[in-house]
């Protein structure tokens, strides 16, 4: 009787299998369709072909959008980290008036629907005369991804033992040296985890970006959304398959380094 406690019954295992089938089926189907040798949406029943992956190379709009998204993701994740690390240090270590308000401010983009952020940024950038520029995309993405980075950095700063820092300071290190040589190495897992999560969140962002992107400065999700709005063909499946493979690689890396569940619950 007690042996069964930490084991699942057959019903639970069937449920688990069906649940995972439900979650993975759409991704598997996308990969299957991307391998079709036919010129239309179909499963690769008559052999496997990479023609639709080669076709991506003939469609520079996807290559350009991919490049844009990658640069945008790296820039906004890095800037978000530059905002989140000092903010986390301030919030975790000092008791000051406005501390709770500041935390709420930095986390508030999670509470605002992204479509609302999109229309608000569109109005703001249009009025400023910078709408459609790459810099405006970066600024908008930084706002959206800071909460993810901040939560992970906060979690790693809060649990930190401060004795080592006190020792560094008492031995004559400047605050900056003590941060760089003592604090930063200790919170680095949280910082890197937060940076990587921000990178993915920026790379995937569609709802807000659809308002602030321009035909000259578009991102991969926006490009894909506009494409699907017109037609669904094996080309969009092969582009999606590439994204799935990159995401899996990234996910395995995050899981190896920090544990995926910890990064996703913000407990880095």
């Amino acid at each position: 009787m007690y042996r069964n406690l930490d084991r699942n019954g057959p019903l639970a295992l069937v449920f688990n299998a069906l649940f995972l089938l439900f979650l993975l089926a759409p991704l598997v189907v996308v990969i299957l369709v991307s391998l079709t040798p036919e010129g239309y949406l179909s499963y690769p029943t008559n052999g496997v072909s990479l023609r639709w992956f080669r076709a991506i190379l003939d469609n520079p709009q996807f290559i350009d959008a991919f490049y844009n998204s990658a640069v945008l993701a790296v820039l906004s994740a890095s800037l978000a980290t530059l905002i989140a690390v000092p903010a986390a240090l301030a919030v975790a270590r000092y008791r000051f008036k406005g501390r709770d308000a500041l935390t709420t401010l930095f986390l508030s983009p999670l509470m605002i629907p992204q479509i609302v952020l999109g229309v608000a940024f569109l109005r703001f950038f249009t009025q400023l005369g910078v709408s459609g520029t790459f810099a405006s995309l970066v600024a908008a993405h930084v706002i959206v991804v800071v909460p993810y980075t901040l939560r992970l950095v906060l979690a790693s700063v809060v649990g930190l033992d401060r004795e080592a820092e006190r020792a560094a300071i008492s031995l004559g290190a400047s605050p900056w040296t003590s941060f760089r040589r003592v604090t930063l190495p200790m919170i680095l897992p949280g910082v890197t985890g937060g940076w990587m999560l921000a990178l993915i969140m920026s790379f995937d962002e569609l709802t807000m970006t659809v308002f602030v992107a321009s035909p000259g400065n578009t991102t991969l999700p926006v490009q894909m959304y506009n494409y699907i709005d017109q037609s669904v063909d094996p080309l969009i499946a092969s582009v999606s398959a590439v994204i799935i493979l990159i995401t899996i690689a990234f996910m395995l890396l995050i899981d190896r380094l920090f544990g995926l569940d910890k990064v996703l619950t913000g407990k880095g």
């Binding site: 930490d6 699942n8 639970a12 979650l23 000092p86 401010l105 992204q114 229309v119 703001f124 899981d255």
Partner: protein, 301 residues
């Protein structure tokens, strides 16, 4: 003067006032200014925009009018859209609870190599672009999709589920259920397995043990997961836009169309503000309700 007056106030036994410290402000000041400007100014501008007039012949009219709000709140066309949005929110949340919470529990009971593998499989889709996952459902639910063919074969329906509420619910549950799994998983990690053992050894059936011992301990996870799923579903854009298209509009797709198809920016801005306020109200009311419930159960105990 200030010192004198403070002597007369009954604050003597309070902790001495902290000296104002510039360091935390130097650390987060630049970020805070950036956030205040980038969030505050655009939202105020959008409120101002929502108060502008609009006509199809002249476009934007710089007046102060509540016409857009009146239109959004009175027109049955928008009633239907908001009703659909929040009905989807409630339905998708309930299904996510029913599927996601047991799944988290089942995964937590798996043996080591399988536990990691299944957890990755259940949470990984969260990192895959929503547009890619929705495309997967377009391929499955489309006219010649596997699900459609299967339903045809069984004789349940010969219509594809594209552009239907059922199709939207299926795809939205797929997109958001990992949030429920992760929430409940985080709560499960704090559950002491000894409590389950104790219940069973005292003669409780497995079902009673789950209901009386495990469920109360993971309830906070289910409640916070529900709030996340509900808020995200109510403001979801990509999935309803692709699966429901223009036939089944929700708040987010209606806002998108007012901006980019009709170019009625004031109406789009008014709809966005209404969505923002409704979502904030729901979150606020939900938190109050949950807090009160918890105080009550704690008081009883």
């Amino acid at each position: 003067m200030a010192e004198v007056s403070s002597l007369h106030k009954p604050t003597a036994n309070r902790a001495p006032r902290l000296r104002w410290d510039a360091r935390p402000w130097l650390l987060c000041g630049p970020g805070a200014v950036f956030f205040l400007v980038m969030l505050g100014v655009p939202l105020v501008m959008t409120v101002v925009l929502s108060l502008y007039g609009f006509s199809y012949t002249e476009g934007l009219i710089e007046t102060r009018t509540l016409a857009s709000y009146r239109e959004a709140l009175v027109d049955p066309y928008f009633h239907e859209i908001f009703l659909r949005t929040y009905a989807l929110g409630v339905g998708v949340t309930l299904i996510c609870v029913v599927l996601g919470a047991p799944e988290a529990y089942v995964i937590s009971k798996l043996r080591p190599p399988w536990r990691t593998i299944c957890l990755l499989a259940a949470l990984g889709p969260l990192l895959v672009s929503v547009i890619v996952r929705t495309l997967g459902w377009v391929l499955l639910l489309g006219n010649h999709g596997l699900v459609t063919e299967a339903l045809r074969f069984v004789g349940l329906t010969d219509r594809s589920l594209m552009y239907t509420h059922t199709g939207m619910v299926i795809a939205l549950v797929h997109v958001f259920v990992p949030f429920m799994v992760i929430s409940v998983w985080a709560a499960l990690k704090k559950v002491d397995p000894a409590t389950e053992q104790a219940a069973l050894s005292l003669g409780a059936s497995k079902f009673t043990m789950l209901r009386r011992v495990v469920l109360p301990q993971v309830l906070p996870g289910i409640l916070s997961g529900s709030l996340i799923v509900f808020a995200l579903t109510a403001s979801a854009f990509a999935t309803p836009a692709i699966i429901g298209e223009r036939r089944l509009k929700v708040a987010a797709t209606a806002i998108y169309d007012e901006y980019l198809s009709t170019s009625n920016w004031p109406l789009g801005a008014a709809l966005a503000m209404i969505l923002l306020v409704l979502n904030a109200l729901v979150i606020f009311a939900y938190n109050r309700l949950v807090e009160r419930r918890y105080r009550k159960t704690l008081g009883e105990a």
